[in-house]
Symmetry: C2
Subunit: 145 residues, 2 copies
Amino acid sequence: MENKTERFEKLLVKNGLKRTAPRLQVLEILSGRDSATSQPYLEQVMGKDADRVTLYRVLQAFEEKGIIHKVLDQQGTANYAICSDGCSAHEHHDEHVHFNCDNCHKIYCLDAVKIPALKVPAGFKVEHLNLIATGVCANCADKVN
Amino acid sequence: MENKTERFEKLLVKNGLKRTAPRLQVLEILSGRDSATSQPYLEQVMGKDADRVTLYRVLQAFEEKGIIHKVLDQQGTANYAICSDGCSAHEHHDEHVHFNCDNCHKIYCLDAVKIPALKVPAGFKVEHLNLIATGVCANCADKVN
DNA sequence: ATTTTAAATGCAACTGTATTGCTTTTATAT
DNA sequence: ATATAAAAGCAATACAGTTGCATTTAAAAT
């Protein structure tokens, strides 16, 4: 079995992106997390390994190539999670529900929960659906009484 | 028939808020719009009639009293729209779908379109649902051919 | 009508997220 | 080994939103 770094390197090359240290490190971090990740978080854990601006640009490049997808938290901060298979630069297939925990503020991708189709008023043309549920996540259920 | 300003004044008093010029003016503006409104927009149209901070505080007070509800646009900026009847400080009943136009960037409240109930994984407890559809609105349909 | 007072406004400074322009470095192709 | 286009680094800036504090004012009390 090939190791993780090799997989990430192939992923970059496949998308026409150079194999650089900041990019590999971001992929490493994102893949090790169970919830969506923001630039400020990456900046904090990576310290001087990467410039603030580099992180923003890495995230933007990954999103454009369909490697990660963006979801805003309740403060309006962008958070990113690795896309499930089937996403590409041309088309994102990430129309699953996101869950925003009021307690720990993590954002989970509920990949199994799809967003139902919607009937909108005449004239409106829906391109994408974005459903964010807020509440208490499974990990916090105990702590919150 | 009582005039609009009288209605707004009663609305403020009913919610224990003083009848001030900035508040009345914000209600006036919000009621005259067909889409959700941001602080920066209010600041722009009101000019020196109200301080930036005052507008933020007015919007916050209105939201707490259930007079308006908040919806984030795709950039994460807060936008506000007047609540339909039935909202109060204790409970918001604004779980309708919001529509974010990719062309004019307006945010519409589709009051008629309710968010369907959702089945989430065990352990997660859903408190609120927030569904934003993006695409092209009825007004822009022609322009975008 | 005048005074009192709690609430609201205005102003200045600040925080945090994100972006832009430009220079330097580096991965990859030649 | 060299050339070059892409990426990273750095500085400055934009923009939404917040906080602390002094001043003003709506509404209540006298």
